[in-house]
Symmetry: C2
Subunit: 514 residues, 2 copies
Amino acid sequence: MSAIRHALNTKRADDFAAWYQEVISAADMAEESGVRGCMVIKPWGYGIWERIQRLMDDRIKAAGVQNCYFPIFIPLANFTREAEHVEGFAKEMAVVTHHRLIADGKGGLIPDPAAKLEEPLVVRPTSETIIGDAMARWIQSWRDLPLLTNQWANVVRWEMRTRMFLRTSEFLWQEGHTAHEGRDDARAETLRALEMYRACAEDDLAMPVIAGEKPENERFPGAVETWSIEAMMQDGKALQAGTSHYLGTNFAHAAGIKYQDREGTETLCHTTSWGVSTRLVGGIIMTHGDDDGLRVPPKIAPHQIVILPMLRDKPEDEPLLTYCEEVRAALAALSALGEPVRVLLDKRPGKAAAKRWDWVRKGAPVIIEVGSRDMEGGKLAVLRRDAIWNLETGKSAFTYPQREDFVAGAADLLAEIQQALYTEAAERRDANITRGVTTMDEVAAHFADDVKYPGWLEVKWAKPTGAVLDKVVEQLKALKLTLRNVSRDAEAADGTCIFTGEPAVERVLVARAY
Amino acid sequence: MSAIRHALNTKRADDFAAWYQEVISAADMAEESGVRGCMVIKPWGYGIWERIQRLMDDRIKAAGVQNCYFPIFIPLANFTREAEHVEGFAKEMAVVTHHRLIADGKGGLIPDPAAKLEEPLVVRPTSETIIGDAMARWIQSWRDLPLLTNQWANVVRWEMRTRMFLRTSEFLWQEGHTAHEGRDDARAETLRALEMYRACAEDDLAMPVIAGEKPENERFPGAVETWSIEAMMQDGKALQAGTSHYLGTNFAHAAGIKYQDREGTETLCHTTSWGVSTRLVGGIIMTHGDDDGLRVPPKIAPHQIVILPMLRDKPEDEPLLTYCEEVRAALAALSALGEPVRVLLDKRPGKAAAKRWDWVRKGAPVIIEVGSRDMEGGKLAVLRRDAIWNLETGKSAFTYPQREDFVAGAADLLAEIQQALYTEAAERRDANITRGVTTMDEVAAHFADDVKYPGWLEVKWAKPTGAVLDKVVEQLKALKLTLRNVSRDAEAADGTCIFTGEPAVERVLVARAY
Ligand SMILES: [Zn+2]
Ligand SMILES: [Zn+2]
């Protein structure tokens, strides 16, 4: 096996964090904006987010949830409710205090002191409270229930340490908020959203996840139950990729969301909320990226197939372009993975090899190069991004099918790549969840400093609460570990709780996390 | 002809402004949020915006323009450039000055004085400057051109007097920004965007527009040319529904957007920008609404066909629901106007007649009621929203086709309604543009207070500039009139300028405007 010369400078195995940043810049997905904690999402990164949005939104609409749009500004009063119950309340938020800029007379600009808002406004960190207010207005009787709303929007949380896609001051997300007659209906919606997220992660993003309930200490404030999908990144850390909360009547109590029930009695609604964000794009990078850049699963690739004509700025270019355009049109007429094939004929100036590496780094699922010899033979030079290297020779693993044959098999090829990326990630995840550890010493050894990618542990526990749980969390924190969730699919537990020695009741995942 | 009892309390002819507000609330499109100048866009209003977005975005992508996302916050420095050139600069904008809220010790919350930003941030009123900065970073050589970007986002302009959809402090829009090698290419892009807007307005929104160049006084600051589409509302006023600007090298000069040209010389780019907003939804209301509520053109209707089973809470409901579900499935399998038919089976509790009027007010293009007798006869009761009244009887103009016949004709019916709404609006517009007025006295008479809907004038003018134009604008302002645009399609002008008496060079539209 020859040495492969990879496209990136940093290898995953050498410095995962630096590799992550290099993928983002090499794939031209995003960049620092100059505005603290905010990024510019560039076409390839935003195109992936748009694909996620489109597929998720189809699922949201299919469930009968309706999209709305709520104001970006939240009145201070909406936070006072929350602050009432908290000693020494302090929260990082972007606060608007003035509504005019004026010249300061020294060549600069200042907020106009004469245009100070009577009551400052907060840039929404979530729309939870303002949607709650709307629900309280909109719901009168059981006939108005369930009320199923969702919003796609930007939100701002003033973050001190940021990381592109994973933690930024401004990010894009969807937040679902629903109100129901009773517990059962609200819990069913909570789990529907959770399973929607699982399906989207696994079927669309090819990112295997564990769907389960978070332990008490990881619950969203005010939630009765918090569920999450957790994905394993290639460094073995967990990424919480989506959450769904059953809020009981707590939130309805605070916001006054009531209805007349079928007997005419005024009753509090049971509510839910659920969200995913541009964080998912970070998850895709750390699930599918390799030492040559990103690999985008076909379902969410802005372009699934990229055609690169080897142009020479000569008259021969013309038949070559015609040939490529014919291939493009034939592919664009196909349907793959339930949608029309997204194919790009990249005619930009520049050497084909340089452009090929551009698309390798971006991770277009299939790259086709066409030179005059290929054209004369009626062929194409095809590279699968999920398997670009011939491991024998260390060279690019091109194949050279007849164009008709390639077109005939293109839809299957895209489906195969989608499946291959999922399988690779699922096998890695399954190989890196360790079961059978029964003592805290073993836990410590498993996560010792010299163990590179220790993955996750699934341990039996007694599901402690309150102070006992706090102690468990502290013990884990000393090892830089967190409780992730209790998989819906885990086997029942017998034996002893690894933390308390009491009889175990379920299995919980323990991992380092983003 | 019997008296018709319309669904709204206010008639267009009685009080157009009040009628507009009533449509918005009767069709459940939006409501006041409690946050100054910001509205909540409810599912039906947002669904229409989503449809506009989807169709416009397809056109944007088809033109090779790529979507990006830029930060919501703009550094103060980006406005200093602009302020430098303006005496007594003052601009209404939402200014973020603090990044933390704390308890004030008296049960309230205040911005934490310890968390004051060194440099305030502005909530974007447009992303013009921050995208300009990005372009300056992204463009090196002619090979990087044209650079075609677009953003879908929320923006904030602190408005003193707001009106839902037409003028709100926060609104949703798209802003296209492009950079080019030369004047010709940039102007071609400016006009491509203009024609894209015209096509979207006319073909998708069924809203006829005049596409043309704005006079100098109406130009976007810094633009060399500003083009617009202008739509005529039912009260005869003009709505500027979209703009496209050719910015020459002015903007590139300010933001430092330069490239190495094919000869290796550093050269300024020619740039463009173009945008439409949620204002379009206001345009749809004032173009297509009637005294029974909204009428949504099928291409942008979230639901094109709504099926209402006449349920009685009895065992007979079951076969009726099965029958309706069969009709729904048959319709959903169809394609109309280039997309799958969007059909809703509305099973919510409530009387069918009340639900029918709900959907009439919302303006679903086709409403189907099904009772047991319809089912037994294999029929449907069908109401076209664009023609709901039998003008002879004053009753609802139901027809009763066999279900197979209705399904077979449904795609054609939707296309016919789309066309009918367009034709109605185009005929009204054409009937209300007056030509041949040649003196200012005639203009004043045409727009006298007792003339209800005077429409627009198309007058010949000498295209004055500078101080002469200023005087024209003042004269018109005294009559509450504005110059709209010079249609691309207008005939050449001969004769005399109505304002200056000089030889006329073109025809300009004069109108009251939103
Ligand atoms: Zn309370
Ligand atoms: Zn200057």
